[in-house]
Amino acid sequence: MNLYEYQGKALFRKYGVPTPEGFVAFKPEEIQEIKGEVVVKAQVLTGGRGKSGGVKFASTLDEAREKAREILAMEIKGHKVHAVLVEEKLKIEKEYYLSILIDRSTRSPLIMASPEGGVEIESVPDEKIFKYVVNPEIGVQPFVGRILSKKMGFSGDLAKQFTKILMNLYRLFREYDAELVEINPLVLSEGKLIAADSKVVIDTDSLYRHTDLEENAEEKTPLELEANRAGYAFVELDGDIGVIANGAGLTMATLDTLLLYGLKPRNFLDLGGTDSVDITKNAFTYVLKANPKAILVNIFGGVTKCDTVARGIIAAKKEFGIELPMVVRLSGVHEEEGRKMLEEEGIHAFGDMRHAIEKLRDIMGGS
């Protein structure tokens, strides 16, 4: 789960990572007072807000409210602005980059630091990005700060500040189950290193132990949210074939195959490993709300009983009055029985994926 900048910075402050002074406002009137020049920043879960006019400066209260009003009315890359963060304008001497994330291939936290911050980090050449693989059994001791400080060009007090920020950020990363914590830019302002921005991604699977964090819904479409809350892995896509399959890998392979056959999927829906009539039936609710032109169901029933799945499909067809073309692939325990039940209801049923998709192609008149 992505956190908004202001939420990330609240965690930074909790862990002793310095941030600019400021506050969040959901409405212009919530801005009651400003001290000196401020920056008003759109709170959206997407990058590039600067280029889109989502960051403005103000020196009076009226001006700050006016800028906030403008920004709060914006939509940036399809995301409605959620709030504005009003912060003291920093005197920026230099911008750095610092992040910690999980590196899958070493199965370890990885620290990345660069003296070239404030730009998209992909545009920084590899030799300017210093990486340190954290041994999770050792963690981030002060020596890690010394190693990176030296490379970053920090010495004396700045090296101490940097080490402290790094150690605190790592504690945050671990204790809040982060997948990513990023400070870009980490600015040098009047002798102090300050996190001028924050990007924090929390592992969704850990949210039960971070009840202080509110759920940020905005990353998903309303339909995705609805389906996810009902327990389905569901992603909207821009095609027209509704898809229900079981297992993330098989669902992905189903989408891939559709595309290779010239058919465009409308969604990704992974039923999961269950075999209940209701779970199968209810999955159709979300697929139907996406208004597809046809539906493909692809079930490789390991231990899933195919007759149960068939019953769910038939119940959906009847209950929701589905008239769309529907092709089902059913393989596994009681597969013949399941397919027979479907055929009797006029639903095309196959034992293997290839023939099911070829049938669908024929129906849709694809290539």
Binding site: N2, G47, S99, L101, I102, D103, R104, S105, R107, S108, P109, L110, M112, E120, I121, E122, D126, I129, N135, P136, E137, D177, E179, L180, E182, N184, K199, V201, D203, D205, S206, Y208, R209, L237, A245, N246, G247, A248, G249, L250, M252, A253, L255, D256, T257, L258, L259, L260, P265, G273, F300, G301, G302, V303, S331, G332, V333, D352, M353, R354
Partner: protein
């Protein structure tokens, strides 16, 4: 030969009295696995399919288990895994999905430096047809043979194993590495085992987008694997993931996509099937 476990490996099931634990214990027993004990706190003294249940792993150690299947709720997985490792259980297979990433990191990190093997989290387990099974793969799709399969998926693995069996390719071992971002085993780890395994003559890798495990596997195959390898990659159609944003992109630097993985495999002489059902045909080109 054995890959991680063998036909005599004594297995316990942590969470045996749950729906999944109980059902799959039955399936594993039918497959011939030596499930010697189960553990569920508060349920000691019961039996599940004739297997004795204990309150703690410490008590279950009288059955001398070497491997455990963990199927407890996600928030208790870390506890269960460390309970098993504290008592010296060598192989820890975690069936549970949605295990917090940092928990997985701690489990895997401890395991790797203390000589334990972790399979999963969030994978279907390991099956050695004709020998044993620890996990949830459906019994009926397997046939004893010479093809080793490693996969990051669940159901898609069954799909491919089923296609192999239907086309006359039996399996020496099938391992589901697990679908999470941190797993105990990756392709390189199992390739090393497959290369050494006398029962394995050919290898199938079922990868997917995300991470660079396939690219690393391709590098490894070039240098260290003499047996024929074929692959399938799921996720060609997926839009690039947004979660890790720019920082994630720096680690992978353009790798991690389906294209990158397919290219890496091709460069390593590993043919990649376009459709899951094509695996047997592709295999036929490189292996009898």
């Amino acid at each position: 030969m054995s890959v991680i476990i063998d036909k005599d490996t004594r297995i316990i099931v942590q969470g045996i009295t749950g729906h999944q634990g109980s059902f799959h214990t039955g399936e594993m027993l039918k497959f011939g696995a030596k499930v010697v004990a189960g553990v569920t706190p508060g349920k000691g003294g019961q039996k599940v399919h004739g297997v004795p249940v204990y309150d703690t792993v410490e008590e279950a150690m009288v059955q001398e288990p070497e491997a455990t299947m963990i199927t407890v709720p996600a928030r208790f997985v870390k506890d269960a895994a460390f309970e098993a490792m504290y008592h010296g259980i060598r192989v820890v297979y975690i069936l549970t999905e949605k295990v917090p990433l940092q928990d997985a990191l701690e489990i895997v990190s401890y395991a790797r430096t203390h000589g334990h093997v972790v399979i999963g989290p969030n994978g279907p387990g390991i099956t050695l047809p004709g020998k044993t099974k620890m996990g949830i793969m459906p019994n009926h799709i397997f046939r004893e043979g010479t093809v080793a399969v490693a996969s990051r998926s669940g159901t898609l693995t069954y799909e491919i194993v089923n296609a192999l069996t239907l086309n006359g390719y039996g399996q020496s071992v099938v391992i589901g590495l697990g679908g999470d971002r941190i797993t105990g085993l990756n392709f390189v780890d199992v390739l090393e085992l497959f290369e050494k395994d006398d029962d394995t003559e050919a290898i199938v890798l079922v990868g997917e987008i995300g991470g660079t495990a396939e690219e690393e596997a391709a590098e490894y195959i070039k240098k260290n694997v003499s047996k024929p390898v074929v692959a399938y990659i799921a996720g060609r159609s997926a839009p690039p993931g947004k979660r890790m944003g720019h920082a994630g992109a720096i680690i992978t630097r353009g790798r991690g996509t389906a294209e990158s993985k397919i290219k890496a495999f091709n460069e390593a002489g590993v043919p990649v099937a376009e459709f899951p059902w094509e695996i047997p045909q592709v295999l036929k080109k490189v292996y009898k």
